[in-house]
């Protein structure tokens, strides 16, 4: 196995503060325990991977952390503030912003409008019902810059529904970055992307992680080994182990459970 050179060697040794922490997080659907007693610390300026087989509960953990579904037990804190009972929109405004596994865009809006909608509220331009749409032009430059970061600037006037799956994911990342979140939760951001886009997007993720925390679900272990500082393995709703990629990938339990036949 080859371990790529980590971009932030020092951070790797001495972890900065945990921005997002969960303790004893659990979720039961009916009688089925999808997430069991999960402890998680996501740190500033680090990329943290959440991996595990399908149905392990990764998306459910995301839904719990962002308050899209209520947890059965456990606590969550963001920058020291308890957000266990906070409404999802409020959590987002506090700086914990997510993307979705099934890419979430506004299909009948152009790419530019998609990003602009995300910029409206932080810029205090969400409630003016008496002004024209032209009053949003001041956001165009910033929206276009975000589209450029994901390579979609040339398609800015196309409808989001016209995009390929991989490009919808890229648009979703641009929209998410528009909020300049402190913690970025990405659910399989590279799924459906071509090889070339994968490396561009992986590069973008490590770049944006320089001044924020990133937690991502990802199946592409090559990318995980290259850009993630911490790896948590989830299996049947429980954490199997947490550590750096090398430690985790050499853990015999992990190899047995998940990576056994992967080319890791």
């Amino acid at each position: 196995m080859t371990v790529a050179v980590l971009p932030f060697g020092d951070a790797h040794v001495e972890k900065p503060r945990a921005v997002l922490s969960a303790r004893g997080l659990s979720k039961t659907f009916g009688g089925f325990q999808a997430v069991r007693n999960v402890d998680l610390d996501v740190h500033h300026a680090r990329v943290h991977a959440l991996i595990g087989p399908n149905g392990a509960g990764k998306t459910t953990v995301f839904n719990l952390l962002t308050k899209f579904i209520p947890s059965t037990a456990g606590t969550i804190s963001l920058d020291g503030a308890d957000i266990t009972r906070t409404a999802p929109a409020k959590v987002a405004r506090m700086g914990l912003v997510r993307s979705f596994q099934i890419s979430a865009t506004f299909p009948q809006m152009t790419l530019l409008e998609n990003v602009r909608v995300a910029l409206q509220r932080p810029n205090g331009q969400a409630v003016q019902f008496w002004r024209s749409l032209g009053s949003l032009r001041n956001l165009d430059r910033q929206a276009l810059e975000l589209l450029e970061r994901v390579g979609l600037q040339d398609m800015r006037h196309r409808l989001a529904s016209d995009l390929s799956y991989g490009r919808k994911r890229a648009l979703e990342i641009a929209t998410t970055l528009a909020l300049d979140p402190r913690v970025l939760l990405l659910d399989e951001p590279l799924a459906g992307m071509g090889q070339e886009d994968v490396s561009v997007m992986a590069g973008l993720i490590s770049e944006v992680a320089k001044d924020r925390a990133v937690l991502m679900v990802e199946h592409n272990l090559k990318v995980v080994s290259e850009i993630c500082h911490d790896v948590t393995v989830l299996q049947r709703g429980e954490i199997l182990t947490t550590g750096d990629y090398e430690t985790v990938s050499n853990d015999p339990r992990v190899r047995a459970a998940y990576m056994g036949n992967e080319d890791a």
Binding site: A92, L112, V117, A118, R121, G134, Q153
Partner: protein
């Protein structure tokens, strides 16, 4: 990024149609100004009134994605307030209409607050239930006149000197209100707030994840829709000079849904066309042997089955297809 790419206006593909649009708006305006010379003015006023009501409803269904089954409460409620303000308080017409709109805002805020947390059909059911409660309130309350309603409402003098008892004066007063209401809707839809509403309609979960408290935006849209529906109801009370239970019944809520769907939801003109069609049908059939509700019901079925986007919706879609060729 080059400066040239930024200098392009970001108004999208509709920009090229602007002169044509302006022409259409001018022709429409001229037609409305001239209409009472060719048609019975009360009939045209009735159409304008229901067209405004349906447009207000469409602001909610078409542009926010909320199906209310209780819009009669705002329409009829405002009619009562206006009628009461004129008869009992002696308000001039402009203030009476304003009072009606305020009444609709209050009713809308209460019903909206109680319903907004529910989704889809549950939202529709709660608005229906609450508007039925309002109906029974109107039936029992001492100042609504029970089964008789409030009759003999004087139109009064607009701003103290324009006698609205004169049909033509009244017509242009109603036309002014109609244009004001339609402009307000157009403005709301094409505003920063409207863009947020659109995003909520397209993908509510994503909107929440972007930090938008969607219920607050939906409630605002609900109250705006109620206010404009109230504007239509108040105007109706002045046109017909009475306010009765008819305007707060669930049938009235159903009628406005029918008009909007027939004309085309999510289009600015659709509800206007739908209202025109339904009111015309009602007027034509009122003197004939046919049962009105059966015929309008059948027309509605026909429209829904043949033009799923409504009349204006289908025309717009056809224009888009034609342009793509």
């Amino acid at each position: 990024m080059t400066e040239t790419s930024l200098s392009q206006p970001f108004v999208g593909p509709a920009a090229g149609r602007a002169p044509l649009r302006l022409l259409a708006v001018c022709i429409g305006f001229a037609a409305l100004v001239a209409a009472p010379m060719f048609f019975y003015p009360i009939f045209v006023m009735k159409i304008l009134c229901f067209a405004l009501f349906a447009s207000a409803f469409n602001l909610l269904l078409g542009y926010t994605g909320l199906l209310s089954f209780g819009h009669a409460a705002f329409f009829g409620g405002a009619a009562y307030v206006t009628a009461h303000a004129v008869k009992v308080w002696g308000f001039p017409p402009e203030l009476a209409v304003l009072a009606g709109v305020l009444g609709a805002i209050v009713i809308g805020a209460v019903i909206g607050f109680l319903a907004i947390r529910r989704q889809g059909i549950y939202f529709a059911m709660i608005t229906l239930a609450l508007s039925q409660m309002f109906y029974f309130f109107c039936l029992q309350a001492p100042f609504t006149g029970g089964e008789d309603g409030i009759q003999g409402v004087q139109r009064g003098k607009l701003l103290g000197f324009i006698d609205l008892g004169q049909t033509m004066n009244m017509y242009y007063f109603v036309l002014g209100i109609f244009l004001l209401g339609i402009f307000a809707i157009w403005r709301i839809v094409n505003s920063p707030f409207g863009a947020i509403l659109k995003s909520i309609r397209e993908n509510e979960t994503r909107a929440i994840s972007l930090g938008l408290s969607v219920n607050a935006y939906k409630l605002s849209a609900f109250v705006m829709s109620a206010a404009i529906a109230g504007l239509a109801g108040s105007t109706k009370a002045l046109i017909f000079q009475f306010a009765t239970l008819t305007d707060v019944t669930w049938q009235m809520s159903g009628e406005v849904i029918l008009m909007t769907l027939m004309g085309g939801i999510g289009t600015l003109l659709g509800p206007v066309v739908g209202a025109g069609l339904v009111v015309t049908l009602q007027n034509v059939l009122a003197t004939s042997e046919f049962p009105v509700t059966v015929i309008t019901g059948a027309t509605f079925m026909l429209c829904v089955l043949t033009f799923r986007r409504g009349i204006v919706g289908e025309i717009e879609a056809a224009i888009v297809r034609w342009k793509r060729r």
